[in-house]
């Protein structure tokens, strides 16, 4: 057996495997190319205390998305009344979240759906206003 040759070949193979580059999609990040379609709630829609506000939205992009954030904010004082998020491994996200209206006063609320593209704070927002009445 060629002892030295076997060991040399093995070490060389391992080093090649370790040093091999991994191919990676190298496309320019374009937040403006992200599309966010909010199906629910409708703009200016009115809800009453105890109602369930269904947030349904679709997010699409040409490359991989990292996740989404759904935020509902009181426009009068900036208080966030609801916030949730989801993770993604895809170029498409179907968002289905719910929030139960517990507010005791008439309130104008802003829904923000944020599509997060990557870890480098590349994102895109879509917003609409709806109202809650006791």
């Amino acid at each position: 057996m060629n002892w030295n040759r076997t060991i040399s070949l093995t070490i060389t193979t391992i080093m090649m495997l370790l040093s091999a580059c991994q191919k990676k999609a190298d496309t320019e990040v374009k937040p403006d190319d992200v599309t966010i379609s909010i199906a629910s709630p409708a703009s200016k829609q009115i809800f009453h205390k105890g109602d369930t506000v269904k947030v349904n939205a679709d997010v699409a992009y040409t490359e991989q998305l990292h996740g989404y954030i759904v935020t509902i904010t009181n426009t009068a004082n900036g208080v966030v009344v609801f916030e949730t998020e989801g993770h993604s491994h895809s170029d498409h996200m179907a968002i289905n979240e719910t929030w139960v209206d517990t507010l005791n006063t008439s309130t104008e609320l802003e829904l923000t759906v944020t599509a997060v593209i990557d870890h480098d704070e590349n994102l895109k927002n879509a917003k609409l206003i709806f109202n809650c009445q006791p």
């Binding site: 057996m1 391992i14 991994q22 191919k23 990676k24 999609a25 490359e63 993770h87 491994h89 895809s90």
Partner: protein, 299 residues
């Protein structure tokens, strides 16, 4: 020499610990006898989940991986050996006091090894060498629901199976003199793409072990100590589109300590690994330690 060492295949991660695909041969008993046995492996990781929203602090999770595995060796002539592994995996992900369990049959593996060189018995210099290597196949027999069902949790490696056919290769060399010995072991796993496009990173698993042989009558004792180095490439969330997940893969260097004992045809093994250096998953995943044990019966 009663024992010869070997290891094969490792693991992978996506903001949680290691995975569905973790085999260890360890130190093996008499080279020319069949055996069957059962192993238990317990592996723990900590991880940091960074919320997308800046308003929330990082969440600290835990992952515990338990595997009970049937395995055996069938010797074909003096130089060929066939190994088979049938794992059952039980994993739990702990997050905010919520326990998420996944369990089921894992991926079944077959491995064919050849003894490339072994010091002939007629040579009595005191030094003994053994070199063996092999190749195998890991079939996607384990439960794997794919990444589409896991978008919110983002932890495909919590599943019992990987959903892919993989090819592990291994090579190990042992040198010994009298009661002392050193084993150097290296294995590499070539992974393929699962049906939903996810690809776990290829993995290198290597180990340097020093061992000592104690014999008391019919009892053979093998204490051992050493280091293990594991290196995993990044996973691909979608290999066809080259979506590289840079929050996976990395290096782990662990100190290892273990012991094996054999009495007649029964062998018992225990070992523990403690990471001493790690650069893994961009720091979001921290291996805590790993415990292995097993019993086997020489046939």
């Amino acid at each position: 020499m009663l024992l010869i060492a070997g290891t094969f295949v490792a693991s992978a991660c996506d903001i949680c610990g290691a995975s569905a695909g973790n085999q260890n041969l360890g130190l093996l008993p008499q080279m020319n006898r069949h055996f069957a046995g059962i192993q238990y492996q317990y592996n723990t990781f900590g991880s940091v989940y960074r919320y997308l929203s800046d308003s929330k602090p990082d969440r600290h999770d835990e992952q515990h991986y338990r595997t009970v595995q049937l395995w055996g060796r069938y010797c074909i002539g003096d130089n060929w050996q066939l190994f088979a592994f049938v794992p059952y995996r039980s994993n739990v992900h702990i997050s905010d006091n919520t326990y998420t369990y996944t369990n089921g049959i894992g991926d079944i593996s077959l491995l064919v090894n050849r003894i490339i060189y072994s010091t002939p018995q007629c040579i009595d210099s005191g030094w003994r060498h053994r070199l063996q290597g092999g190749v195998g196949i890991k079939a996607p027999t384990g439960k794997y629901i794919g990444t589409s069902e896991l978008q919110k949790s983002g932890v495909p490696n919590m599943q019992p199976g990987t959903g892919s056919w993989d090819v592990p290769i291994n090579l190990n060399y042992t040198i010994s003199k009298n009661a002392y010995g050193i084993n150097v072991d290296a294995s590499y796993s070539f992974t393929t793409v699962s049906k939903d496009g996810y690809k776990f990173g290829n993995k290198l698993n290597s180990q340097l072990s020093a061992f000592y042989h104690i014999q008391k009558g019919k009892l053979f004792l093998f204490p051992q100590i050493g280091f293990r180095y594991e290196y995993s490439l990044h996973d691909y969330d979608n290999y066809a589109r080259r979506w590289l997940n840079t929050q996976t893969g990395g290096h782990i260097l662990s100190a290892t300590v273990g012991v094996q004992l054999y009495l007649k045809s029964v062998g018992v093994q225990m070992s523990y690994q403690k990471p001493v250096y790690q650069k893994y998953a961009q720091g979001f995943v921290t291996p805590v330690g790993r415990f292995d044990s097993g019993i086997l019966f020489l046939l």
